[in-house]
Amino acid sequence: MSQHEVLNSEKHRQLRVKTGYGAALGDAVMYAMTYPMEFRDIQSCYPILFTKDSNTGGFFAVAILGFEADQNLFLQDDRWDAAYVPALIQRQPFLIAKSGEGDARPPVVSIDLDHPRVSQDEGEALFDDGSEPSEFLKKKIALLDKLHRGLQHGSGFIDTLLQHELLEQIAFDIVFNDGSKKTLQGFYSIAEERLYQLKGDVLESLNQAGYLQPVFMAVASLSRVRDLIERRNRLQVSQAAG
């Protein structure tokens, strides 16, 4: 499914990366992973929920894009209809990998050669004639750098939420305009009642870790669910019209 290689100016000299958006480019996903430093941008467009990694059972934060697998309600043909696109989407097909065993090794930029954005003849070049990174690649590297710092900052976020029992299961029972129903399962949100009972010292420690603002951003983001339902309802109408 994916084939990761550390980016190399010799080996990957000819590679190109397709830009823009579209289902064929791998953008038809129900959610995108996110991290606390990004919550402020995310909550302006998407609901932020938490779900579990099927391999480890561990929680991670996600920006919700649709109501079922492979459904991205922000994707309109080749357009992403939102003011902000999650960094984990923007960075495709690049990723950060460790350069070796152990946590001390510096991260290196890698590429998923099996990603649909990777091409031999179409899209942006990665290197210029002098084997230097292209402007396009430089921007992606800057994004990955920001992403890396965000993930590091957020690495203790979930444990902190669990420690203070700030996550709770959430079940959405949604009825769309066309009468169809959808139950969104396997998602968790901030436990608001517990949040409002937190005492001074806990609030202070959350604030110092830079986690207090993201917690409230996640709470605020739930009002984006209404927009998501509207998008789904419009989808029905346009499909019926089409």
Partner: protein
């Protein structure tokens, strides 16, 4: 009675005599419900006296699903429990050679038949031509047995399930974990000493026990967890022991730990029970080893022969090399129980109250029920204790009676004719009267809700269905038919179909036991 005398009457100190899983589990359940730590609102103490010289017997490696709520109740994390106790998931029991002895098999899973509350599938299953085995037809759980699949996923919260489950565990490690938790978290006081004398109060209660290195220890309620010795209830109060060997012949066990042949060998999803000529062999899979043992009737087979059968079994499942290194440990026991269990201010829990063969792993669940009832109904004063005691005795006599009848059912239904043991097991004189009546009734209608005696029956009616129809018992169809027969049949056919689909779906979705246990070791379960 005046205010002050009432205060003196208050139950404020419980003394558990004896460690082992019975002692520590009881202490844990009671201490979780009644704060005994120094910050508690009322002065209330829970002491456990454990002999530093007597090793625990270490039987009882199989549990019931009730153990999940018991562990949760005492505040243990499931991840810690699984990691510390070398525990694995148990989804029921798989029986081999019990019916004909010619390689026959059947299952007793922990999941009740699908739609059991509203539909009795047994008569519909009996009417099927080419029916799959009963358990396979009515629950998806048995489909997981063959591939050694787990009852849940790593994303399932702790103690929650996809299909109902209990545990197999290392009893020695379990005691160790409970001891740490009870003393470290729950405020139970641990006294390492041997009890040398039981001292009576003027009214006939136990006033105190004298120990060899901790002096005299007084208490308001004594819990006797001294094992078969039954030091307080049996020796001090002389409450008679009632043998049940007339019904259940087995009185000896040979236990042996068996290594896996490969490190990553699959871990069985259920207890395996394989009938022999004069008993049966248990086989349970833990992450690091298997626990096996032969339970038999010493009147029907010699120890040498019983050992030979156990070694032959081990050779079959684990190879010659494993069998060569085995030195079985022998445990003699008298099947039966005390005439009463709570006498004056003393209640016996665990083997001090009685013991029966582990055919349906009833030992630990009885400890959980006993400790639970004491925790829930703890008499606040001495003058109400006798009322609680009487209720307790009635309830637990009923539990013992049901255990004996239900275990006997496994033997009565056997068609094996290859040894006097199986023939003797079907002699009318060896069958409890109530069981004979039930069997007669069930020839004409299958057991369902109307056969449940009490809401807290130890063995629910689905268990009877699994044993009866697993062992080839036939219930005749009703002669009179029903006006809505066709409707019922259509509904039943739909349930059978859905069950098969669910089984196939679960086989795809659930990981292997070992895979999941490895993940628990690495990541742990989430609490939500």
């Amino acid at each position: 009675m005046g205010y002050y005398s009432h205060m003196e009457d208050r139950i404020s100190r419980i003394v558990v005599v004896g460690g082992g899983s019975a002692g520590w589990l009881s202490a844990g359940v009671i201490a979780a419900e009644h704060r005994v730590d120094p910050e508690a609102r009322q002065p209330f103490e829970l002491l456990l006296i454990e002999s530093p010289d007597v090793p625990t017997i270490g039987v009882g490696e199989g549990t019931w699903p009730s153990m999940r709520s018991t562990l949760q109740r005492i505040g243990l994390s499931e991840t810690d429990f699984l990691r510390e106790c070398d525990a694995s998931f148990k989804q029921g029991t798989f029986f081999r050679n019990w019916h004909t002895g010619n390689g026959d098999t059947y299952s007793h899973p922990f999941t009740v038949p699908t739609d059991y509350a509203d539909t009795n599938l047994a008569p519909h299953w009996l009417a099927l031509a080419d029916a799959p085995p009963f358990a396979d037809a009515v629950t998806p759980q048995t489909a997981l047995f063959a591939d050694c699949l787990a009852p849940k996923q790593i994303t399932t919260p702790e103690y929650a399930f996809v299909v109902n489950y209990a545990y197999h565990l290392d009893a020695g490690k379990f005691v160790e974990l409970l001891r740490q938790h009870c003393t470290g978290k729950l405020g139970v006081k641990h006294i390492e000493a041997n009890v040398s004398q039981v001292n009576a109060a003027g009214n006939g209660d136990i006033r105190s026990v004298t120990t060899d290195r901790a002096g005299e220890i007084s208490g308001d309620l004594f819990i006797d967890c001294t094992g078969t010795k039954s030091l307080l209830l049996g020796e001090h109060f002389e409450i008679p022991f009632q043998s049940q060997q007339a019904y259940l012949f087995n009185d000896t066990a040979l236990a042996a730990q068996v290594p896996y042949t490969e490190d990553d060998q699959a871990i069985q999803s259920c207890t395996h029970s394989t009938a022999q000529t004069a008993g049966w062999i248990w086989d349970i899979g833990l992450p690091t080893r298997r626990g096996t043992g032969h339970v038999y009737s010493s009147a029907h087979i010699s120890e040498d022969e019983a050992t030979g059968q156990l070694l032959a079994y081990i050779k079959e499942v684990a190879g010659d090399k494993a069998a060569a290194s085995i030195a079985p440990r022998k445990i003699r026991y008298q099947p039966g129980h005390r005439r009463e269990f709570w006498h004056r201010n003393c209640v016996a829990i665990g083997m001090s109250s009685g013991f029966i063969e582990p055919l349906e792993a009833s030992a630990l669940v009885m400890v959980e029920l006993a400790a639970g009832m004491i925790a829930d109904q703890l008499p606040p004063t001495r003058d109400v204790m006798d009322i609680v005691a009487e209720r307790y005795n009635r309830k637990f006599l009923r539990h013992w009676q049901q255990i004996i009848e239900f275990l006997k059912l496994h033997y009565v239904l056997s068609a094996r004719d290859d040894s006097p043991y199986w023939q003797d097991n079907r002699a009318a004189s060896s069958i409890p009267e109530k069981l004979s009546e039930q069997l007669l009734l069930w020839r004409y209608r299958s057991p369902w809700h109307q056969d449940a005696e009490a809401v807290d029956d130890l063995f629910p009616i689905p268990s009877y269905q699994y044993i009866l129809y697993g062992m080839g018992f036939r219930t005749e169809p009703r002669h009179t038919g029903s006006r809505r027969q066709e409707l019922h049949q259509r509904h039943a056919a739909e349930l059978f179909r859905k069950n098969a689909a669910r089984a196939a779906q679960l086989q795809q979705a659930l990981p292997g036991n070992r895979d999941l246990l490895n993940k628990v070791r690495e990541f742990g379960f989430q609490k939500l």
